[in-house]
Structures are given as structure tokens and as C-alpha cells.
């Protein structure tokens, strides 16, 4: 977990991240300073980013963060209040949704209840007035793709949640879109099915080789599936990066809190590579802050190691203990009253005093957000 200094400098010198304005491969979608308001309420606030062809993107954030708004803007159901959206470098403001090379898998699947499985999948092809024989072939191909052969004449009402979702995917991909938009498609499924579908979707994206834009509020889902993640809050992009970037180097308190469990402490930067929190000074890998600048410090629970009290950089009194299968989840308080969460394969008893050790790389220093702190 060591990052080149230049990277550290860049990440600390920017407040709102504009997500990946340059892409390596072929650019497919670009938002330029896009704002969306509903009746005076800003749901998307001056957002800019670019997306590359053939990648799996996830828009991650709590409800009301603007992630679904981005999806609906791309699909064309709504128009931006300000700013421009480009598709293959051309503005698509005046292109209606039915003329866009984009298809959507809706949160409630939005399958047509008056049509059977075959006719649902065939809908887009029929609208294009394709020949009957071609429709048959393409629909059965799409159904084979999602493992639903033989279900052609089933009514939608007879399909289970997981099957409906596959029908929704088949109905979208049969039109061979360049971009597939997925609006929390897994949220209605139970945990086991959800995990299964995560693998299937990822696999599907690899096989099709098209761009997936996946919306979710589930951080585990986002980490498991994506090439790139946009973390959103209050209509702004908080951070853009690979799942590893975002997990290891959260840019602010909100992202650190939203992605995984973490210990977040207030502190101040004494000097480059030296930070103070929990009443002590620690060597770290961050620099580029003003002297004595107040900062937020994040340490992931799995980066903390149990040690004897005299060897610990921090000493805590264990308050509670939970067995989580792979590890113990230990919660305790240090002498200043800060709460510490530790994931360890070693056990500690409630009431026991233990030391915690961590590497300088485990300390993530973040600028404090001025106007809207966290959430």
C-alpha cells in the first residue's frame, strides 16, 4: 500500500473530484458541468466526468445522492438544467430516449405484464420492424444468454424475482446497446441470489464487451463488480477511482465512512509525513498540507493489529466482542475516549486492555470538508 508522492499530492490538492476527465480508451460518454434541478432543488450539482467504452462503472451513494439522476440523464428520460452530455463526442441533448444507443434495466424491472417473456424481449425488435424470423432468432439467443431457454411463453407473473431480472436484462441486451444502464437491479433480490447475480452480471459484461453503468447504494456490490466507481453524495462526485483506490485511499470522511467500516478520527497535520491524532504523533505517508491544518484520519479495522499493551501505539480497553466467522470484531475505547474498531483473527476478552499497532501506510489523512461535512 505505497503510493507515489505525486499521486498523494494530486489527491490532496482537490476538493471535489471531477471523475476521470481523461480516459485511456475510446470515450463513450462525457458529462460537462451538468446540473439538474427539480423545482429549484439541485439533485446534481455541476458534475463532470468521462466514461470509457467497454468498462464496468458503478455509481455508488446513499439515496438522493444523484446517482439515478445521472442514469436517467444518460437514458434521456430527463434533460439537464445546465451543462452538456456527449455520446461519442456529440451532444445528445436533443436526441429522444428511443433514438439513443442505450438500454436500461429498471429497478422494478418494468416488464410489460400484458406480454409473455418472448414478447417482452422482442419488444424493442418489433418496434424496429425487424423480420419475424430474425426476431425469433435474436430473442432465443438473448434468452439463452441469460439461461432462460424454454421460458418463452411464460407469463411475467409466473416468473420469480431472479428470473424477471434476467428477462429484463435479455430485453435490454437483445437491442445490442452500446451502453447498458442498470438501476439497482439487485436490490429486490435476497442475499444469496444477489451474490450470484453479481458474478453473473460481471461475467455478462465481459462477454458482451459493452459499457455497463450500474447504480447501487451497496458498497460491497460496487467493490466486487466494478472497473471504476464514482462515489456520489449530495449531487456531487466525491471520488472516482478503481475499487482498490477508493477503499484504500478514501478522499474524505464521507467516502471513508460509506465504503467499508473504518475508524475516523479528527487530528491535525504537524508537518509533511507527521500527523497528530488521539493525543499522539504518528509518522505517515501524506504531505502537502498547511502546517497544523486540521484533518480527518482513517484507519481500516483490518489494518490494526492486536499487541501487548506496552507494545501498542494506541492502548484500548475492550468494550465488546463479536465473532464474525473469519475474524473477531473488537470494539474498544482509548484513554481519550475515541472509539476503535478492530478486525483480528486473535481474540481479546471484554474488559481487557490491549495495544494496537499499525503501519504508517495504514494511516489515511484527508482534508476536512468545509461546507458540508460528511453526511
Amino acid at each position: 500500500m505505497h503510493f507515489p508522492l505525486s499521486y498523494v499530492l494530486i489527491r490532496n490538492s482537490e476538493h471535489q473530484e471531477d471523475g476521470g476527465l481523461e480516459v485511456n480508451g475510446e470515450e463513450i460518454i462525457r458529462f460537462e458541468r451538468v446540473t439538474k434541478e427539480y423545482d429549484g432543488t439541485v439533485v446534481l450539482d455541476d458534475v463532470s466526468f468521462a466514461m470509457e467504452r467497454g468498462k464496468f462503472y458503478t455509481l455508488l451513494g446513499p439515496s438522493g445522492c444523484g446517482k439515478t439522476t445521472i442514469l436517467r440523464l444518460i437514458a434521456g428520460f430527463i434533460e439537464p438544467t445546465e451543462g452538456t452530455i456527449y455520446f461519442h463526442g456529440k451532444p445528445i441533448q436533443n436526441v429522444p430516449p428511443n433514438k439513443r444507443q442505450v438500454n436500461t434495466v429498471f429497478q422494478d424491472y418494468a416488464l410489460f405484464p400484458h406480454l409473455d417473456v418472448f414478447e417482452n424481449v422482442a419488444f424493442g425488435l418489433r418496434v424496429k420492424k425487424m423480420k419475424e424470423a430474425d426476431i425469433r432468432q435474436k430473442v432465443s439467443e438473448a434468452l439463452r444468454f441469460v439461461n432462460l431457454e424454454g421460458y418463452e411463453r411464460r407469463r411475467i407473473q409466473e416468473m420469480s424475482g431472479g428470473q424477471r431480472q434476467r428477462v429484463a436484462i435479455a430485453r435490454a441486451i437483445v437491442n445490442e446497446p452500446e451502453v447498458l444502464l442498470l438501476d439497482e437491479p439487485l436490490s429486490a433480490l435476497d442475499l444469496k441470489l444477489r451474490t450470484e447475480m453479481q458474478y453473473e452480471l460481471r461475467e455478462l459484461q465481459r462477454r458482451l464487451g459493452i459499457t455497463f453503468i450500474f447504480v447501487t447504494h451497496d458498497q460491497e456490490e460496487a467493490l466486487a463488480m466494478s472497473d471504476y466507481i464514482f462515489v456520489l453524495n449530495k449531487g456531487k462526485i466525491q471520488q472516482f477511482g478503481t475499487p482498490k483506490d477508493i477503499y484504500d485511499e478514501p478522499i474524505n470522511r464521507f467516502v471513508a465512512d460509506f465504503i467499508g467500516e473504518s475508524n475516523i478520527l479528527s487530528g491535525r497535520m504537524i508537518d509533511d509525513f507527521l500527523v497528530e491524532f488521539a493525543g499522539k504523533r504518528f509518522v505517515c505517508v501524506d504531505r502537502g498540507f498547511a502546517p497544523n491544518e486540521p484533518v480527518d484520519v482513517v484507519i481500516r479495522p483490518e489494518d490494526l493489529e492486536l499487541a501487548a499493551p506496552e507494545d501498542g501505539q494506541i492502548v484500548i480497553r475492550v468494550d465488546s466482542l463479536l465473532f464474525r466467522g473469519v475474524h473477531y470484531e473488537i470494539c474498544g475505547y482509548d484513554e481519550n475516549g475515541n472509539e476503535w474498531l478492530v478486525h483480528s483473527t486473535k481474540k481479546a476478552e471484554v474488559g481487557e486492555t490491549v495495544g494496537l499497532r499499525f503501519e504508517p501506510e495504514a494511516i489515511h489523512v484527508m482534508r476536512v470538508e468545509r461546507e458540508d461535512e460528511g453526511a
Partner: protein, 269 residues
């Protein structure tokens, strides 16, 4: 006594009502339809119904009911559609329902005034330079007033069906490449067919037996089964014949309801 038995007791008032005002009248009506003017048993009334005079009257009734339903649907569907899109739904719905609270006879009399020779409509036509003309006692005024009376019954079920339609289905159709018109034709209309059926039933069936509007607005221009029943009972005093027409009308209504289904079931679910 068990809870269930108690619950049955609550049915008694309605049961009495049903027997006194629904079952008994129908029984009397059927009984009466088999009696001639002198009170003797006969099937002559039914033979009479099948003569050209009554068949033509029946055809007229169906034709006018069909016209009224069609015009109501053509106006009612777009209205209901627009209502679901508007901001102040409750207000507009209230305005739509408001005339239903006014007595039917009052509304019809109001139209007599409006459409009369010296009424507002003719005054308007005159100022426009078209000139006054006979508006009352025409097919047009009959259908016009009937549509006015019945339109809420058409709009409400369609409005409800449209409200129940998930908006994501419209998005999905657009997303899959359908134009606004194709979306309407292939998704919105088929899924609101239940409401359309319910609305058509609610307009067509009462339209079949109209007589008050027929008498007051259409005068003697339009003779339907409704007016025939009224004539037989009140003018010619041939109760047997009146009852026969009523029985035939009821059978026709039952058949229509049977054929169109109970409306809601198929389309929306």
C-alpha cells in the same frame, strides 16, 4: 353465538333491501310480462317484441347508446390521460365530479334553456353570423346532453387505470425504441383496457334505458326502449308490454356485462 354467526346478522338490513327492492320488482316484472291487457296468461307480448316496430326501436336504442359511449370514450380517454399528468389532480377531479352532485333533472332543464330557440347557444351562433337554428329535439342535442351527463363515469375508471400504470413501463417502452405513439398503442392503452371496459359499461348500459333525457331533449325525434317502457306504463297503460320490454332490456344488459367481463380483471392485472 360465534363471531361468524354475528357477522351474518349484519347482512339482514341489506338482505331485506335486496328482497324488497331488487328481487321482488324483477319477479313482478317477469310475472307482468306474461299477462295481456285483461290479465290473462299470454306470450303475445314477447311475440310483439319481435315485430319490426320494436326491433327497430331496439336497434335505435343500441345505436344511440353506442354513439354516446363512443363519444364519451373519445373525449374521456384524453381527458383522463391529461388529468394524470396535471399538477392539481385533486382540484380537476373535483371539478369533474362536481356536476355529478347536481340533480339530473336540473341539469337537463338547464340544457333546455341553453339549447332552446332563444337560448345562449343560438345567441352565440347568431353573433357568429351562422344564424339561429333548431338545436333542441335533434339527435345531436340528445347525444350531446347524454355525453355531458355520462362523461365522469367514463373518465374516472380510465383515470384510475392510468394512475395504477407504473411510470417505469412508459420509460421502458421509450428506452426500447418506441416513439410516444407506439408506447401509447402497445403499452399504455392495452394496460388501461380494464378501465376502458369499466367506463364503457358504466356509460353504455344506463344509456340503453334512457328516457328522461330522450323525452326532454330529443322530444319525439328519438324513440328508444326507455321511452317505450315509459309510454306503455304511463300513457297506453299496457303494463304487460312495458314489462316485456324491460325484461328484454335487462337480459340484453346481462349479456353485455357477461361478454365484456367485469372490466378490471384482465387488463390491469
Amino acid at each position: 353465538m360465534t363471531e361468524r354467526a354475528w357477522r351474518n346478522w349484519y347482512l339482514i338490513p341489506y338482505g331485506i333491501w335486496l328482497v324488497l327492492f331488487v328481487v321482488a320488482p324483477i319477479v313482478f316484472l317477469v310475472y307482468e310480462s306474461f299477462l295481456d291487457l285483461d290479465g290473462h296468461w299470454t306470450v303475445a307480448n314477447y311475440e310483439n317484441v319481435l315485430t319490426p316496430i320494436y326491433l327497430k326501436m331496439m336497434a335505435y336504442s343500441f345505436w344511440y347508446a353506442f354513439l354516446i359511449t363512443l363519444v364519451s370514450l373519445l373525449i374521456g380517454y384524453p381527458t383522463a390521460y391529461w388529468l394524470t399528468k396535471t399538477r392539481h389532480k385533486q382540484l380537476w377531479l373535483l371539478l369533474l365530479i362536481l356536476p355529478m352532485w347536481v340533480n339530473l333533472l336540473l341539469k337537463v332543464y338547464a340544457f333546455l334553456g341553453l339549447l332552446g330557440t332563444y337560448g345562449l347557444a343560438n345567441a352565440l351562433l347568431q353573433t357568429l353570423g351562422i344564424g339561429a337554428r333548431q338545436l333542441l329535439f335533434t339527435d345531436f342535442s340528445f347525444v350531446f346532453v347524454s355525453v355531458y351527463i355520462f362523461i365522469p363515469f367514463m373518465v374516472l375508471p380510465i383515470f384510475n387505470a392510468l394512475e395504477e400504470l407504473p411510470p417505469s413501463l412508459v420509460d421502458a417502452a421509450r428506452d426500447l425504441g418506441a416513439s410516444a405513439w407506439t408506447t401509447f398503442r402497445r403499452v399504455v392503452f392495452p394496460l388501461t383496457l380494464g378501465g376502458v371496459k369499466a367506463g364503457c359499461q358504466a356509460v353504455f348500459i344506463p344509456s340503453l334505458s334512457l328516457f328522461m333525457i330522450t323525452r326532454l331533449v330529443a322530444g319525439n325525434r328519438v324513440i328508444t326502449l326507455g321511452t317505450a317502457i315509459e309510454q306503455h306504463f304511463l300513457v297506453t297503460q299496457n303494463w304487460g308490454m312495458g314489462a316485456t320490454i324491460a325484461v328484454v332490456l335487462m337480459i340484453a344488459m346481462a349479456v353485455i356485462v357477461g361478454l365484456t367481463g367485469s372490466g378490471r380483471k384482465e387488463g390491469s392485472r
